[in-house]
Amino acid sequence: MNAIQALPTQSRRYHARHRRYRKYLQQGLAYLLLTAGLSFTLLPFLMMIFSSFKTNTEALRVPPTFWPQHFTLENYLKILNDPKLPLSRFYLNSTLVAVFNVCSTLFTSSLVGYLFAKFEFPGKRLLFGWFLTTMMIPMQITMIPSYLILAKLGLINSLAGLVIFSAVDAFGIFMMRQFCETLPTELLDAARIDGTSEWQIYWRIVLPQLGAPLATLGILGFMANWNAYLWPMIVLQKIEVRTLPVILTWFNSTHTGQPAVVMAATVLIVMPILIVFMFFQRWIVQGFTMTGFK
């Protein structure tokens, strides 16, 4: 009698314990695999940072050292004191291009997105369809004629050349239209009845409501501009006007056999954006998932 009653309890206990063990095991395995992936992601960054503090002879040593044996700042000093490499100027170039492009696309995207969301006019569907089509066309199709136009206008080697073709962003318009559609039309109509002009409605009522998507679009646009390589390389052929990624390849090609210095330059160009990311990571990651835009 007793034995018969005890059996199910025992088995239940056994199962509960078994399930708990299995859960621990699964969690442990998950952490193990994730940490392996994490190390693979992190190690190249660490090697870059450690190499930048090595002397050049140590950076060339076989087999390579992990920690710098003679910790030195000479690579950084060499870069920062190089008269042929005015880094602050390249930072300024990159910043100017990125900020200008971001501001202009934010303005046009919100304005045109609002127009497509809240106004009816003939040809609207056609125009919007055209925007979606241009979104599909990759940059390599337009890059050759765009270059020829810049050459005709004498804008090769000028930062303006990086700005002209980026004033309107079809993707941004698409995204802003989605958000503007959620704005209550009653609110806009109420403002109209109160006599607010259409431009004021856009500026005072619509724009403040778009804070979050504008921030997302702005951050993503900034990252994309900051890291852009192909188009800046085509347009900016003189050294003084170049942006950071283009300068980095040029620096690499002029410093062959000096890996420590090249790594220090890479650190100087790669790290600022990663530090910014550390602070805003939540926003940035959300932005990427929300928009699916790279």
Binding site: L33, T41, F45, A59, L115, M139, V168, A190, Y229, K294
Partner: protein
């Protein structure tokens, strides 16, 4: 109260003809500049389209309209015929580039999914440090691809690089990862695998984050119910999770394909197409033809081919993966 005040102040400035006219003025005020700008885009596209049919080089004077004609003669579809059947150096190189691009894209997509989907699933299942893991996995995505290329070049260095250090430790012979044209693995050159690895390293954090967001949308109750019914994690993953995140899977496949067909930065910096053109991909070939050899007509024709391939692959993927979306 305040609205009354605004109304009083603004009534005189309201445009004559009422609200409809004001709206119309706003619409024209925005669309006219927009149309002007878009006509620039159409002009650029039209020019790109015309260039494909010419033997155009910006160094020659050419005809009166856009420099087309004259010393930049019209050649019709000859560029495309040459691409398909030509024996010239550039035609052979185009076909090599096309092959390399396909190898690259079709290697990157499955490898990427094989890394990102399980890792995202694991990351969703752990209870702590999620943000920390996600943040670090995402770091390479934001790193400039030139930086990524330089970092990996130092890892691949034949003498002082870490990969060869590991090989030596295992007693194997070191490999010139980026410059040995004879080394290969699974019929693909080692240099190609090397750039694929660097590209994957830069890219997987992005798809992981997308997958994590999708996995968070899978209702917890569904998984728990299946677990109570005795389903294993593997079955839950393949039978419940995968079908539910199918739209995301489609999106990720299309985006990964699109960007890997247009790979440029990493390869240009790491190998510049070498050794023996084993990593020459289409966009790199287009870039070299257009801006180094100045044969822009040919390059325009090539970019049209790349565009067509990208479109076809996208449409096919949509068809294959779209089948049943209603969940």
């Amino acid at each position: 109260m305040t609205s009354l005040a605004i109304r009083k102040k603004n009534v005189p400035s309201r445009p004559r003809g009422g609200l409809a006219v004001a709206k119309l003025r706003f619409v024209t005020g925005v669309t006219v500049p927009l149309l002007l700008y878009e006509s620039l885009a159409i002009f650029v596209l039209g020019w790109a389209f015309l260039l494909m049919f010419y033997d155009y080089s910006p160094g020659r004077l050419g005809g009166p309209i856009l420099g087309l004609g004259g010393s930049n003669p019209f050649v019709g579809v000859q560029n495309f015929v040459e691409m398909l059947t030509g024996r010239s150096v550039r035609a052979v190189l185009f076909r090599t580039s096309l092959r390399n691009t396909l190898i690259f894209a079709f290697a990157v997509l499955p490898l990427n999914l094989l890394i990102t989907l399980p890792l995202a699933w694991l990351l969703e299942s752990i209870s702590r440090y999620k943000t920390l893991y996600r943040t670090i996995y995402f770091m390479p995505v934001l790193t400039s691809s030139v930086g990524v290329a330089l970092i990996w070049m130092s890892m691949y260095d034949p003498q002082a690089g870490w990969l060869n250090a590991i090989l030596r430790l295992l007693g194997a012979r070191p490999v010139a990862w980026l410059s040995d044209p004879r080394a290969g693995l699974a019929g693909v050159s080692v240099a190609m695998w090397a750039v694929i690895l660097a590209y994957l390293w830069q890219d997987y954090g992005y798809n992981m984050v997308i997958f994590i967001a999708a996995l968070q949308g899978v209702p917890q109750e569904l998984k728990e119910m299946a677990m109570i019914d005795g389903a294993t994690s593997w079955r839950i993953f393949t039978r419940i999770v995968i079908p539910l995140i199918r739209p995301t899977l489609l999106f990720v496949c299309v985006m990964t394909m699109l960007s890997s067909f247009q790979v440029f930065d990493i390869i240009q910096v790491m190998t510049n197409g070498g050794p023996n053109n084993q990593t020459q991909v289409l966009l790199l070939d287009i870039y070299k033809n257009a801006f180094r050899y100045q044969s822009m007509g040919w390059a325009a024709a090539e970019s049209f081919v790349l565009f067509l391939i990208v479109m076809i692959v996208t449409v096919v993927q949509m068809r294959v993966l779209r089948t049943s979306w209603e969940y």
